[in-house]
Amino acid sequence: MDPTLALHVVKNGLLIGGIYGGVALGLSLIFGVMRIINFAHGSMLMVAMYLAWGLWAGLGLHPYIGAIITVPALFGLGYLVQACIISHLFRREKAFVVEPLSALLLTAGVFLVMDNLVLMIFGPDVRAVSIDLAYANFFLGDIPINIPRFIAFVSAIGVAGVLSWWLKTSDMGRAIRATAQNRDAATMVGINVPLVYNITFGLGTAILGLFGALLVPFFSVTPTLGLAFGIKSFVVVVLGGIGSIWGCVVGGIVLGLFEAFASQFVTATSAQIFSFGLFVVILLVRPSGLLGKA
């Protein structure tokens, strides 16, 4: 492969990979704290993208300004899904331990409802936001870098940094980490575990609210887009090690680079085969992820 082309491939892989990492952050956080795999993760991103698109198409709001609405809206959605639906599982089981499969099934139900409600409301058409910024580039040496992609990439790293700092220093962050380590002990020292769960879930989806708004300028949205993003997020989380914030970013970048190189040799759709293949190999060979503890 000639060096200029390789450089372009690396650039594309890095940009999209960082975004994959950002999208997967919430999934990793929720799994790390609650031991729940949210099957509806990708669907919630899809909902965020529709919301950002709707704000642009209906009110003329630039998606980046629309984020002021999509982030709290998605926080609310996640909070409610946890508080009204998933919490019943925790209440049924002893000591806040949920059988992982029932949680997966429950969120699979949420996934089916969400995807198909959106399909019923908006139909199967592809929706896209067209703003001038979508085609704007800046040059790093000879390499053009697409500005909205770059913004999304930087935001992913920024969110990961803020999230890990917040988890380390704030009271709620400490409560979340304590709950992740040991639910029973957390309850005993007076932490309101159900509230921590609601907030964790809300935070995990609020991040999707941000990325929904950041993605729409260069990514058109359909009701079925969620599953592909959801599965990619699982890949990223497994690659990076479950519950690890920076592992998530690294996992995303690994997946992005892998896909970018694979798509040089086969068509982009076939390149997905390699992402799934990578996922299977990682799970079978090193289930604790690249950065996770064995």
Binding site: R92, D115, G123
Partner: protein, 331 residues
């Protein structure tokens, strides 16, 4: 056959079975026969899924790959070699069983959600590969366009019938086979081993049961039946494509019908399909095409409610109710 069933339950099962056999003499129009065939087909598919997943307690969302692969084998053997689909579907089922061993051997070591996600990954790899492959070493797969089974007219040998009725009875016969096979399996050593693995995998292993071996035996039988179902589907519609026959939607249908009805029971998956498919059909016909996806919204909601309130499936409260009616002991 249903040793643990009460008299009332046996009577009900017999009535439903008799109803299914004589249904075509009551309803005659092709549309209703078609719908009935689809309900029976989904019951068969859910029961095939249940054969391994329900008993061993693992959630596979990749079973559609067996249906798709076997369907393609059947159709290709017919169009390329002129082999009767009746023989082709056995080859297809066998092929699916071999494939299931290749997939199952590494994945059954994984637990819970990891297993589920890996099955999705395997199925999606196959589907995307089929969708993007027009020709594989001389075999015309025709990518996402799919394959059409050429019409030869009313012929038992070619598995083609002018009327819907023969398809209905074939589906019903398949359903009877899987019900009997599951009932036998449940009371055989294999069934006890699987339930032991479901209850406590490490404990079962400590007792000398090899979890991977017995899970794989059940999986290959399940894949064989799923493949037969896929071949039937391809013949029934005379058309096969990766999206419908191999896509994740089919896997989800099979799994949630089983789970809602009651996985790990002989009749639960059938109950699930008898409840869910008519909902889908009514949602599609009575409300027209205006609400695309409505039935899946209902599936999702029913799934969530079942997981929350009847985690073992609707068959459990139903059996309790029947037991109360007949005055027997509630088990």
């Amino acid at each position: 056959m249903f040793g643990s069933a009460t008299t009332l339950e046996r009577a009900l099962i017999l009535i439903v079975a008799a109803f299914l056999v004589f249904l075509p003499s009551i309803v005659r129009d092709p549309y209703h026969i078609h719908t009935a065939t689809m309900i029976v087909y989904f019951s068969f598919m859910a029961a095939s899924w249940n054969f391994v997943c329900g008993y061993v307690g693992q959630l596979s969302l990749g079973h559609s790959v067996f249906s798709g692969v076997a369907g393609y084998v059947t159709v290709l053997m017919f169009t390329q070699m002129g082999l009767s689909p009746w023989i082709g579907m056995l080859f297809g089922g066998f092929f699916a069983a071999v494939l299931s061993l290749a997939i199952g051997f590494p994945t059954f070591r994984l637990k819970g959600p990891y297993f589920t996600l890996t099955t999705i990954a395997f199925a999606e790899i196959m589907r995307i590969w089929f969708e993007n492959t027009d020709n594989f070493i001389g075999i015309p797969l025709k990518g996402s366009e799919g394959l059409v089974v050429p019409l030869v007219g009313d012929s038992f040998w070619a598995f083609q019938f002018n009327e819907k009725l023969p398809y209905y009875y074939i589906a019903l016969a398949l359903l009877a086979i899987i019900v009997i096979a599951t009932a036998i399996m449940e009371r055989s050593k294999l069934g006890y081993y699987l339930k032991a693995i479901r209850g406590d995998r490490d404990g079962a292993e400590a007792l000398g049961i090899n979890p991977t071996k017995y899970s794989l035996i059940a999986l290959s039988i399940s894949a064989f039946f799923t493949g037969i179902g896929g071949a039937f589907f391809a013949q029934f519609f005379r058309y096969i494509n990766p999206e419908r026959n191999m896509g994740i939607d089919l896997s989800i249908d099979m799994a949630i019908m089983s789970i809602i009805g009651g996985q790990g029971t002989v009749l639960g998956p059938i109950l699930g399909s008898f409840i869910l498919h008519p909902i889908a059909e009514v949602a599609r016909t009575s409300l027209g095409g205006s609400f695309l996806g409505l039935h899946l919204v209902i599936y999702g909601a029913v799934l969530a409610l079942t997981v929350l309130y009847f985690p073992q499936g609707i068959i459990v409260p139903l059996r309790k109710l029947l037991a109360r009616i007949s005055g027997g002991d509630v088990k």
